[in-house]
Symmetry: C2
Subunit: 246 residues, 2 copies
DNA sequence: CGCCCATTTGACAGCTTTCAAATCGCGTGG
DNA sequence: CCACGCGATTTGAAAGCTGTCAAATGGGCG
């Protein structure tokens, strides 16, 4: 799983192969994509709203988040990303960015030119389908986030976020046991859940005192997984982490 | 534009061709997709959360909406769809539905088998790309909805929804002038914006008295387009209605 | 050791929700 | 053509979750 990478793009292949079966030939072609590595410091902007884009980044290490800023200056985080995630397919294919992508931690990216990606897709239908599917899963997660901020209270929203990040780190092979990286400040948790940092703080205190989670220096330990899922009205189906369809 | 359809699937072609240029050959292949027509009455379920799916519907006439229901029984509407929209690519490709799709009005659908769709995509890279792009635009709209329910107040949320539905109806050739179909009850507007129907009612009264919009029998007239956009913090970029990238 | 950012805490205001109950609108049947 | 019935829209009053605005405390890094 987390074996040493013979190739920079291995995390992307692992991710795609999780949901779509790819032949050796497809896999090789994918790993042979031209790309360059790129490093970003924490809080650096990777993509800015409005940028025109002609390349696409694959996250090799670290965490990033997407966000938008309203006319009133409020920020809403749209998603959190980790190793293997394809960071800006959206912006790349649609021509310009409709949101920001920013580093949450130090980050390593592989940057792939759009033209190479499209050529690969044209020549390998299975790969095209894998990318498409990845986009569909992203969309599914966005839908769940709409539900989260639209119809859940503060406690549920935060618990739900904990559950999602935990399962996705497990799927990416980034953790062992119920202890996970937690690269967000309370203010960022608020921006992800549509709450203020003050309210996040108070709600988190409640969750800790109930023995659901414990936190310390950018890490979180889920003390009561069942309880946390219940508290967050969490059901993992929307993550589509298994290969259901043909 | 809204010329008589020689073919049932014409609305889908129109939609895709809006964002991706397709050759005559591609277009013909698309229109030749095997499909059957299907009718649904208002409020009928088209897809249920958890259903396994092996076909995909294209909306030919009428309005539908996606929604999820929380463990507590609250409903959150995720998107509204109209002529030309591809209704359940998501569910079809991912194998099972992670949300419900329900008719808002009487609805005509063209149902296409998944296998035929995948075959077409494998043979026509441009079409595969067009579908992929359509999925990316859907995702962009979901992202904007996260912002809407997460960081805007009641007035902004509702105004934003009016703006979106108006522009999309224009793009689909469904209206002339500032008068639009409005197939939702106030309760459904609440479910789409994360509010209660009571609060939607009071907020709408305010907007009407300010001269932003007028409503009557499932229709809405936007009296002050600029004012409504301002009130809704609305910016159309996220709809990606033009063909920006190559 | 000291600075800076993140976390906490307090008091209070406010937007939204709740829970009914009253009206309205309109398709249906007499 | 008018009465009936049911869903949608309105209205009221009160409660509540979350936001606001500072200010204090804590922790990590240079």
């Amino acid at each position: 799983m987390s074996a040493p990478h013979r190739n920079s793009l291995q995390p992307m292949l692992d991710r795609l192969a999780q949901r779509t079966s790819l032949s050796d030939q497809d896999s090789d072609a994918l790993l042979s994509l031209p790309h360059r590595r790129s490093h970003f410091d924490a809080s650096a902007y990777i993509v800015r709203d409005g940028d025109s884009a002609d390349s696409c980044g694959v996250l090799l290490d670290g965490f990033v988040y997407r966000h938008k800023v309203t006319g009133g200056g409020a920020r809403q985080i749209l998603s959190i990303h980790m190793r293997g995630d394809i960071v800006d397919l959206q912006n790349s294919l649609l021509g310009y960015a409709d949101h920001n992508v920013q580093a949450l931690t130090q980050v390593e990216l592989a940057i792939i030119p759009r033209s190479a990606l499209l050529k690969l897709c044209a020549e390998h239908a299975a790969i095209a389908q894998a990318f498409w599917r990845d986009t569909l899963v992203d969309a599914s997660i966005f839908r769940e986030w709409i539900v989260n901020v639209g119809r859940r209270d503060a406690r549920q929203r935060i618990a739900h976020l904990f559950c999602e990040i935990a399962l996705r780190q497990e799927a990416a092979g980034l953790c062992e046991g119920p202890n996970y990286a937690w690269p967000m400040t309370q203010e960022q948790v608020g921006d992800a859940t549509g709450l203020t940092s003050v309210h996040v703080n108070r709600t988190l205190q409640g969750m800790r005192s109930e023995g659901l989670v414990t936190t310390s220096k950018r890490r979180v330990t889920i003390a009561d997984w069942t309880g946390l899922q219940t508290a967050g009205d969490f059901s993992r189906a929307y993550l589509h982490q298994t290969r259901e369809a043909a």
